[in-house]
Every structure is written in C-alpha cells, then in structure tokens.
Amino acid sequence: MSKLKLGQSEIKLLNHTADFGVVVRSPSLEDLFQDAARYMVRSMVAFPEGRGVLHRTHLDVCSADLADLMVRWLGEILYLFQGEGQLLAAAEVEEITSAGLSAEVELIPFDPALHEIRFEIKAVTYHQIEVAEQDGCWEARVIFDV
C-alpha cells in the first residue's frame, strides 16, 4: 500500500483488483472531508495551482451518517466535474455532523488545454465505506468505480 501526504492528511492507496480505493487519515473531520475531495479531483485531473478563473460557491449535503455523508459529498464534487465541467480547487468545511455538512468550495472551469486528465472515476461507491475516529485521528476508506 503506497502512502502520500495531502494538506493535513495522509492518503494510502488500496490494491483493489478492478477499481480504485483510498484510506484517508486526518487530524480533524473537516480535514478528512476536504482532503478526500481534493485528492479525488487531483487523482483524476492534473492542474497547475493558481491558473484559471476561480469562483466560489456554497454546498450543503445531507446524509444518514458519516459514511453516507462521505459518499454524497464526494459524489457532489464528482458531479461538479462530470456534469458541470468544474474542478474543485479548494474546499472549506464550515459545519459538519453525521446529518450533513456545509462547505465553501472554490472551483475552476475545466480547460483541456490547461488540465491533463489522468483517469476517469465513474462513481463513489458504498462498497466497504468507512468513516471512523481512531487514536485521535479521523479515517475514511473509500472505493471508487473507475
């Protein structure tokens, strides 16, 4: 399992035979959700920092529990790319409970001349989804359909 750092979080890649999975470990729940989203977008598309016109928007996501929230949150970010052509540049989770989150996100329009596509994520799955607190840190396990 290879590891890398992103923001305050540590990302481990899972060896899933057909799909693509990660374990994200972060000091706070906010960091966990922010960095999971940033990692997902950066794994799909390489884009230079500070290029492109940023715009900010607000997202509210409702959920049944934290694991459901992770799938729905990442699903929203994925849809912004797939359906609206907007790449997440930054996210700030302002409020989070097991029932939902509110976040300010910064988006950049996808530009094929500037942004290199690495691979496609079709969907965020519930397969083996986990979000839990362990030893003072928050950890999430997410498997994507690719």
């Binding site: 799909m44 797939q82 079709k122 397969h127």
Partner: protein, 479 residues
C-alpha cells in the same frame, strides 16, 4: 464470514450455504484461475449476494470473476419476482456496458499496409476519453427518444440499417423505459455523449479471425479464417452512471423500511414489487437503450473512418454487424428453477447472456447456432466468439463470462509497467495501439488481465458456451 470453498469438479467450485446465505455460491473456474480468485475479496462478494432476499438457484460467478463493488464482477444472480429484489449495484454504474462485433469482407493483408494510418484515424474519428462529447448533440426530446427506442433511433437517423436491430440483444431496445423517472442530472449528462467510446477499459479493436473452432456456427455468424473484424466495447456513459448513482441513493434512504439486512451497503436494493424498484428498472432501461444507440453510432463512425482511410467502397468493406450483447444488466426472464418454469429478475454484472440453440428469443439467423457470445481479451492476446450452449440454460440463467477479468490492480499494473513502453511492446507483436495517455495503456496492459483462453476453456468445458472463433488484435484505440 469465513469462506469455505469446495471443489465440485474440474470447472466448478461451491461455497456451501452458511450464516445469512439463502443459497449456495457456485463459481465456474479451474485449478489455475481459482488461485487469483482466492486472493481478492470476490468470493466474499459471492457469499454476500447469496444473502439477498428472493435469490433462487445459486449465487453464481463466471470464470472471469474478480473483486468488484457489491456484486463481484462476473457475478450472476436471479431473484423471484414476489419476494425478490433488484439492486442497482448488481447491474453496475455502466448500465449495458457491452460489446459489438462487426465482420468485414477484408483480409489482414488488405488492412496491413494502411494499419498505421487507420488506427490514428479511428482514434480521431471516434470521440474517446473522460467526459468526451460526441458528434451528436441531442435536445431533451431527442434524448427521450433515444432512451425509449435505443438502437432503432440511431438507425432512423441514418446510423446503420434495420437489419442491425435483429443482430442486437433485445433488438437494441429494452421495453419499459420511461424518461420521466430520470433526474435532471442524468438528462443533462446524456445530451452530448452519444457516439463516444469512453475511457478506461473501453476500446475499439481491429482484429483478424485466426482460428475457427466450429465451422457451422462461424458460417452462421458470417465469420471465416483470415477475415478482418472490428470489436467495440462501450456503454451508457455518464447517462448510465448518473441513473445508477441516483437510484443507489434513493434506495439507501428507504432500505430500513423494507427490513433488508445488507452485508455491504453497495448491495442496496428494493423489493421488485415496490414503486422505487419499478422506477429504477424504467430508468435502467433508458440507459440500456442509450448504450445500444451509442454502439450503433460508434459502429457507423468506425465504418466511415475505414472507408475514408482505406479508400474503398462500402461493398469492398462489407461491414456487417455480427452481434451486440450487453454484460451489465438486470432482466426479467423465464427460467427453470428446481424443475419449475418461473419468471425471475436476472442480474448480470460483468456476465453475458448466452441463449442456447433453438431459444425463441434468438433471431432466426442464429436459432440453429445459438446466441453469439462476445468475449474480449486483453489487447495483447485474443478475443473469442462463443455460442450459447444448453448448460447455460440449466445452470447459469443463460449466462456466460464477459471477458478476461482483471488480475492486477491498476496501481500494481502501473508499477509493473514502470520503465517500459507498453505501446512499443505491443507494436513489436504487430499490434498498433493509439491511446489518450500512457497511463491508460499501462493500467490496461495485457499482464493486468487473466489468461482469456483459460477463462473461455472453462465455460466451454462446463457446457455454458462453446468456442466458435478466436480473434487476434491488429490495431487498438483506447480512451
């Protein structure tokens, strides 16, 4: 749950029913292939599927089984209509991902001198890659027509001929499609993706028939040794992904009211008698029809590109559809269970329908030979054409394998490919490859897949489908 695997015979393995399992698991595999299966989590997934309400027969897996999400890839399960369920994860995000094979009147020698121009021309002529837009931009009303009429809509627009529809599973249109159940997001994502190949393991391959195993069936399918064929692997694109995603979330909110215990949240499902299940099936049919229209358009784009690049007439090209078959679907079908005929909802997640000779759903041209079953391999070895056989009707709800099946994760494949040029390695074998990036080629390199010949030998020996022809790649495009 501890998975106990018992060998039944040279090609069958059983997971005896334990715990919450309602039926046994039955895996078609041989001594060699089962080793890799034991190493991932797919056997657990076979056992998980066996716990779902209303499952009948066995929780089945084909020899290309590997770890998926929820259902294993290569999984087949049938559910009784009154007590059973439908699971969007048991169909997959790429609803009606499938294969389409075309024969031509060309020989390998006709194509060889132009192959280095033809493959890049196909890559340019057929939109591919993540989120690619097609040559068609649909209005919402047109998209609704595609969703209901499928391949017939494409034919009406001039993409192909009515004869193509008889050579397409379900005539290229699944009944029951209702665009009214679709979300705004699904509708939006379908508007500009018709006629696009996609990315990942989707491809178009120019091939040559190198071996005929069953001369009579090959003749019925219009295949002969030395002939050039074209194989397309694609699906319902973002339209289908969104429909699956929407219904997984809807069912997730309702699962508690049906008191269904799930060993994996991705197995979320709804009783077939419920309104939400019926709405999912109506939406799934929209995506299935979109996928058939998509492959119909892709076939015509390939035909136009070949005519232009090779500078030949349609008559000289002689391109004809052999068959189009899906491998991610849920369908209501009649099967015999415990000696009784019954209607069931068959989920095929990475598995191909394989109707045996004489089946009433077969077009007249294939009624004697059986249904063509298209098995793409990896891009460095072979693909196969099989014909459905009696054993599939008896044991697997008329299902067979769908491909080679991955054996290596994408990150393992990337590691293995480091410092190598997969493109050059394939070129050295006489296979011209054009892809959007080196990464896709590395992830999809031949070693990442099981030996497709072994997979096919298992279904042949088990009597699920019989070998008809083997195809060798000459040129490949990947998104």
């Amino acid at each position: 749950m501890d998975i106990r695997l018992q060998r039944v015979d040279a090609n069958r393995w059983k997971i005896p029913r334990t715990g919450a399992m309602r039926v046994d698991g039955l895996i078609f595999s041989n001594e060699h292939l089962i080793k890799a299966v034991r190493e991932d989590q797919s056997l657990q997934q076979v056992a998980n599927v066996a716990t779902l309400p209303g499952i009948v027969g066995h929780s089945l897996a084909m020899p290309d089984i590997h770890w998926g999400y929820g259902f294993p890839i290569g999984g087949v399960a049938a559910f009784e209509l009154q007590e059973g369920i439908v699971s969007p994860g048991g169909v997959g995000y790429d609803i009606n991902c499938g294969c389409r094979l075309m024969s031509t009147a060309l020989s390998a020698a006709d194509v060889a001198p132009s192959l280095r121009e033809l493959v890049p021309a196909l890559f340019t002529g057929i939109p591919s890659g993540v989120g690619s837009s097609g040559v068609l931009f649909l209005s919402k009303a047109e998209e609704a027509q595609v969703a209901v009429r499928g391949a017939a809509w494409a034919v009406q627009q001039g993409f192909g001929t009515p004869e193509d529809l008889a050579r397409t599973e379900d005539g290229g249109a699944m009944p029951g499609a209702d665009p009214a159940v679709l979300s705004e997001r699904a509708v939006k994502r379908g508007l500009d993706q018709l006629g696009t190949l996609g990315s990942g393991n989707h491809f178009l391959e120019v091939q040559v028939v190198d071996t005929i195993y069953d001369a009579a069936a090959a003749a019925a399918f219009g295949l002969s040794a030395g002939q050039v064929t074209v194989l397309i692997h694609s699906g319902s694109r973002g339209f289908g992904h969104q429909i699956c995603d929407d219904f997984i979330k809807i069912m997730g909110q309702k699962i508690h009211q049906w008191a269904i215990e799930l060993p994996d949240r991705q197995l979320v499902c709804a009783p077939l008698t419920s309104g939400v299940a019926q709405r999912y099936l109506a939406g799934m049919a929209c995506a299935a029809n979109y996928a058939w229209a998509n492959r119909q358009v892709l076939m015509c784009l390939a035909r136009e590109t070949m005519l232009r690049t090779l500078g030949i007439t349609p008559r000289e090209l002689g391109m004809q559809l052999v068959y189009d078959v899906c491998h991610n679907i849920a369908k209501q079908e009649e099967h015999t269970v415990n000696g009784q005929k019954m209607q069931v909802c068959v989920h095929r997640k990475g598995a191909t329908r394989a109707l045996s000779p004489g089946h009433p759903l077969l077009p007249r041209i294939y009624r004697e030979a059986g249904q063509p079953v298209l098995i793409p391999g990896d891009m460095g070895t072979h693909s196969y054409v099989l014909a459905g056989a009696k054993g599939a009707m008896l044991e697997t709800f008329a299902s067979s394998c769908h491909g080679a099946g991955r054996v290596m994760s994408r990150s393992q494949a990337l590691k293995r490919a480091r410092g190598r040029s997969i493109s050059r390695e394939l070129d050295d074998k006489g296979i011209v490859v054009h892809s959007r990036g080196k990464k896709t080629l590395s992830e999809e390199m031949p070693e990442a897949y099981k030996d497709v010949s072994q997979v096919v030998e298992v279904v042949h020996a088990a009597g699920l489908a019989r070998k008809v022809a083997r195809l060798t790649p000459l040129g490949v495009i990947k998104g």
